[in-house]
């Protein structure tokens, strides 16, 4: 067996799903005995069979990846409860194994995956769970993405309707159906921060369920952004959300303003006042920046 063949075999085996009691499956999906498979390349010793030795790695793999995703979605875990959440994470990871050297990106596809897999959530909670997942991932993105040099007042002076404005890579815009910022903040307060990766062996995560605020459906627009290296959830109004989203998608300033107020019943002078307010605010928070190609990002 070449090194590559051995690695392909072992990688497949350690990533095989565990039983519901977190042990290695006795048989593969196509009916092969794991004991036979393990013994083709792993030696037994006087205390452990080949199966037992492979199982140590099989369990380690799952405990590690489950822990990594769980750390990024503590509020989703709290909303769903441990049992449902673990089932969801397992199913997600089976379809989305890690393709990066860092565990940081492991949960990146979870919000979209959850949208396509409502069966993992009680029907009444699907929209809420989706909102929570989106906001928790936005936090991860906002936490350590690039911060570019912000535009100055002089830069603003030269803008016209054809200008395109770039938004900070750490700024995430969300349209939500529930005020989940309150819920996620409540859970975050009860969760300690930790490193992305460590050198420790992984244990099964044990969660205590935090207290959650009640949630009633209501449309919320959020800007998740970083200021002084802390992540903030800022509620913005619908027009501001539309304006910023359009700019983020590369539309011109003129087009973006049009998109923001197309269905607005506000009088023109009120609109002008709002626009001025948005820009003053965004400038203060440094949300507008030079395009990545204009200059090298600064930290």
């Amino acid at each position: 067996m070449t090194l590559l063949e051995l690695q392909r075999r072992m990688s497949n085996d350690v990533r095989r799903p565990l039983t519901s009691s977190f042990e290695m499956q006795q048989r593969t999906e196509d009916g092969q005995a794991m004991a036979d498979l393990a013994s083709t390349y792993i030696k037994p010793n006087d205390r452990l069979t080949s199966f037992d030795r492979l199982e140590i790695y099989n369990r380690q793999y799952w405990f590690r990846v489950i822990a990594a995703v769980s750390e990024d979605f503590p509020a989703l875990a709290a909303v769903l409860g441990s049992k449902r959440f673990d089932a969801l994470v397992l199913a997600y990871l089976k379809e989305n194994p890690s393709t990066s050297f860092t565990l940081r990106n492991l949960g990146a596809r979870l919000p979209m995956w959850l949208a396509d897999h409502p069966e993992f959530v009680p029907r009444m909670k699907h929209a809420l769970a989706l909102d929570v997942a989106q906001l928790e991932w936005a936090y991860v993105e906002s936490f350590d993405r690039l911060k570019m040099a912000a535009l100055t007042l002089e830069d603003f002076a030269g803008l016209d309707g054809d200008s395109r404005l770039s938004l900070q890579p750490h700024l995430q815009l969300l349209r939500l159906s529930y005020p989940v910022d309150e819920l996620v903040l409540a859970v975050r307060m009860q969760t300690p921060e930790s490193d992305i990766m460590s050198n420790a062996v992984s244990e099964m995560v044990v969660r205590t369920r935090p207290k959650l605020p009640g949630m009633r459906r209501s449309r919320v627009f959020l800007a998740v952004h970083r200021f002084d290296n802390s992540v903030y959830y800022r509620r913005i109004d619908h027009e501001a959300y539309l304006l910023l989203s359009a700019l983020q998608h590369g539309r011109t300033l003129g087009e973006s303003l049009e998109a923001a107020f197309a269905n607005s019943r506000l009088k023109p002078e009120m609109q002008a006042e709002k626009i001025q307010h948005y820009f003053a605010h965004a400038a203060e928070l440094g949300w507008f920046c030079h395009r990545p190609t204009d200059m090298i990002g600064v930290q």
Binding site: S11, R15, R64, S98, L103, G297
Partner: protein
């Protein structure tokens, strides 16, 4: 070795790992620490607090980078994006050497995020050494490879682990991060004499030493890094220092992390052996006790 080409001719003493739960204590108390080891991957990000914290640490302390995902022993080509980010970080930290593990962990673009053992074959030694050379050439700093704890052995193996280590580091012309706890853990799992391993290490290549705690279960021993260093490991450490000379030493404590002082004090126990090395006989402790499962 005190200062050699594998640790950038530095003379570092006893350090500890930089971990999130200790940030506040470090910034508030500014404790005297000879050096910190960071896990590179935690700072290979574009911005935000991780880099702010790192810069603050770099203002006051010496930092050495330790990686957990280079997987020198994976059979396929290196990940260029990973290397690029790692090099950017080495420029920031000015790490005098860089360590990662003698193991594999990814194949066909899928990552296990585990330090998987290699079969001790000539083919694996050749591939691994080649990849270490490539990383060393690209990063332009000395590389030290760390022996891992393992729980499985392969039918394919053609030599012992220490023979394999020798084979790889000579072919790669790289340094060694000797983890005496890992040797101990593997010796328990595979029933070999850990001192034979320590005695077989090419002493002139040792850039750094790791010490850590482990846990003994009924049928195997696990590298848990979650409590103090146990006596058999201190004995191996003493032997390693006797052979290698005073060497940069780092205590790994990654789980159930206690207070900063507790971790630091445990690490500083290494000084007993480092200082003993220059004069009196080794103060070994006689009773060996094991962690309960």
């Amino acid at each position: 070795m005190p200062a050699n080409r594998f640790n950038g001719f530095t003379d570092y003493g006893v350090g500890i790992g930089l971990r999130v739960p200790h940030y506040n204590h470090i910034f508030a108390e500014k404790p005297v620490v000879d050096w910190f080891e960071i896990i590179s991957e935690n700072y290979m990000v574009d911005g935000g607090r991780p880099l702010q914290v790192l810069d603050q640490i770099l203002d006051q302390y010496r930092v050495v980078q330790h990686g957990v995902s280079m997987y020198f022993g994976s059979a396929q080509p290196l990940d260029r994006e990973h290397l690029k980010r790692l090099k950017t970080l080495t420029r920031r930290t000015k790490t005098p050497w860089l360590s990662d593990h003698l193991c594999w962990g990814s194949v066909d673009g899928t990552y296990t995020h585990d330090l998987l053992p290699l079969p001790y074959t000539f083919e694996a030694a050749r591939i691994t050494a080649q990849r270490i050379r490539e990383v060393q050439d690209y990063l332009e700093i000395p590389i030290a490879v760390e022996n891992v704890s393992s729980y499985a052995e392969f039918h394919e193996s053609q030599m012992t682990e220490w023979e394999f280590l020798n084979e790889v580091v000579h072919a790669a012309d790289c340094g060694i991060l000797l983890d005496v706890n890992n040797i101990y853990v593997s010796s328990q799992n595979h029933r070999f004499d850990p001192m034979v391993y320590v005695d077989a290490v090419p002493a002139e290549r040792v850039a750094q030493i790791h010490i850590a705690g482990h846990s003994k279960f009924e049928k195997y021993t696990l590298d848990t890094h979650d409590h103090p260093v146990l006596d058999p490991v201190w004995k191996m450490y003493a032997r390693a220092i006797e052979r290698v000379g005073n060497t940069a030493t780092l205590l790994e404590w990654d789980d159930n992390i206690p207070t900063f002082d507790e971790v630091h004090n445990e690490a500083l126990k290494a000084n007993r052996y480092l200082h003993a090395n220059s004069s009196s006989p080794l103060p070994l402790e006689s009773t060996a006790h094991e962690a309960r499962a």
